[in-house]
């Protein structure tokens, strides 16, 4: 079954400042969309607002997942409708074990520990980490791999990855990117990856690239867009945007 995620005119305020100023994006199951943009362009705000992070105030717009308005739902219900966020800095939750988290999140408890181990091996995460408390005392790279374990168990319709490549070495990045690629075929997962580095794209082939600046998409194109970015940087896109205005 094909699912759709449609974001229209999304406006979000954080700490009294409008950061997203009418963001649009549409995607389908199995596609890989990459959002690139300089620091401060609103990339992370998009991911957090979509997941209903406290303190992120939606001023307008719509996020439809298979026709259901996510913005009216609680963070829990958004996740249960099939939206997953892998965070840039996944939070430590002392005293809570990954397995208990996943069961509470609705994962099938049958052979869960074995399935988690298999997922951990796919992203080269030491399996003893699975018995520790969620993200506690894990390195940045381990946390991101641990998010991939959750992704593999929860099998969301759409996975958003906020700066998944930051803090990862080349090997880890490769492992994470390969896991995401196979998710697109294994259960037709749609991947929305946020990054400001190009190197992720060497491992994860995008269907579409969106360039973001000052809270909205200023250019959309195929993989070739990343070469333009590599050559010219973000500046021409910013100028393009201001010339439109």
């Amino acid at each position: 079954m094909t699912s759709t995620l449609i974001i229209q005119g999304l406006r979000v305020e954080v700490a009294g400042k409008e950061v997203l100023k009418g963001f649009d994006l549409s995607m389908k199951s199995g596609e890989v969309h990459v959002i690139m943009g300089p620091n401060g362009s609103g990339k992370s705000t998009l991911a957090h607002a979509m997941s209903g992070r406290p303190g992120y105030k939606v001023l307008g717009g719509s996020v439809l997942l298979d026709g259901v308005e996510l913005l009216n739902l609680s963070p829990t219900e958004r996740a249960r409708h099939g939206l997953f966020l892998a965070m840039q800095h996944p939070m430590e939750v002392p005293g809570v074990r990954p397995l208990d988290l996943l069961v509470a999140a609705g994962a099938d408890p049958a052979h869960l520990r074995e399935r988690m181990s298999a997922e951990a091996e796919r992203v080269e995460l030491r399996t003893d980490v699975l018995d520790r408390f969620v993200n506690v005392d894990l390195s940045g790279g381990e946390r991101k791999r641990a998010e991939m374990v959750q992704l593999g168990i929860l099998r969301p319709k759409f996975a958003m990855l906020d700066e998944i490549d930051s803090g990862l070495d080349v090997d880890a990045l490769g492992a994470v990117a390969r896991r995401l690629s196979s998710a697109t075929t294994e259960w037709n997962c749609g991947v929305l990856a946020i990054t400001h580095f190009r190197r992720l794209l060497q491992e994860l082939t995008p269907t579409v690239i969106h360039v973001m600046s000052e809270g909205r998409v200023v250019a959309t194109g195929g993989p070739e867009l990343s070469e333009v970015l590599e050559r010219d940087g973000y500046e021409p896109f910013r100028q393009a945007k201001s010339s439109i205005i």
Binding site: G52, T76, R80, F84, E92, V96, A104
Partner: protein, 413 residues
Amino acid sequence: MKTFAESALSFISDRPDAQDRQRAWSAFEEAGLPTTSDEVWRYAPLKDLVIDSFNVSSAPATQENSPFASQLCERAGLVVRVVDGFCVDSGSAPSGVHVEVVENAISVSGASMQSRYESDTFAVLNNALAPATTVIKIDDGIDVERPIIVLNSTSGSSSFSSTQIKLGRSSSATVVEYFEGGADALVVPLSEYEIGDNASLQLITYQRLSSSAWHVARTTGFLHRDARLRQAVIGMGGHYNRSRNDAEMLGVGAENELRTTFLGSGGQVHDFRTHQFHKSARSRSTLLSKGAVADESRSVYTGLIEIEKGAKRTDARQTNHNLLLSAHAHADSVPNLDIRENDVMCAHASSVGPLNELQRWYLESRGVTRSDAERLMIQGFFYEMLTTLPHELAELVENDVAAALALVKVVAP
């Protein structure tokens, strides 16, 4: 119906060391019960304490193990059973471990019990009324492989148990002191731990008394050179649950890690007091106190770090976090420092508030419901306390804690 004093005096007169006990009893009578005008008793619901509703038992009542206690015992290398303060079964100790029941024991500190505890009313009462002291001794160099369980149950209307655990040089052991029963009873345990040079004691005090019990407990660790005491105190039961947990770092390089936690519900009062006393150089203490109060319950945490002149390069840390789970619950936190040496590292932090919103959101963003997220996080308080327990024991206690938590209404204010 006898008054408490009549039953106490009749108990005392039958004991071989009646004279010493009589002295302790007189000291208790002279001091009288504390009042809330005493700073250290300010938070206790003393108006609910009717001493004549309790009686001192002259013999232990027969007591069946609860299902949980039975499961604990299955995982133990040695089970010592104490009923209503009487050691009724000293188990079969493995090689290098000895269990003795001692009348008129002296304090591990070297002083007599009465002079050691003269300023503490309930400890004095314990000195007068504990049937005997159960002493568990571990020989030098012995690593006790399987956990030792001290099963403490109260079926009468009062219980005064006295326990000493003594680890010889370079020995190690895991001990669980478990408390259950105690409906409408006064439960006053007194424990001392001596950890010899380079020895290591992993200790869990798990209090699962009835919510109608009065529980006034005191423990003291005495740590010699390079000794390690890792103690976790988990308090669930009690109308009033008072737990004083002290450690004296007597030897150079001694190390104490204390974790205390509680869950308050209904109209409970949890009163935790700690004193980490650094008497020697390069000693370390790490204290983490975490608790949650629901319904109309309240809690107080009072912790003192004391550093003696000359205890150079001491490292002492104290952290207290309290969670409010209802708008009618209340928590107080009173950390104190008394430092008489300059060359030390000392830190303390405390907080009172609701659950961490971002941690909760993180769980919710995975699809966990809000109520499950809150329950997982609170459960996590207790699970954190159990991290150093052997796996099979930790799992058992975790399941028991989870079952108790499932009965508590959690409302984030």
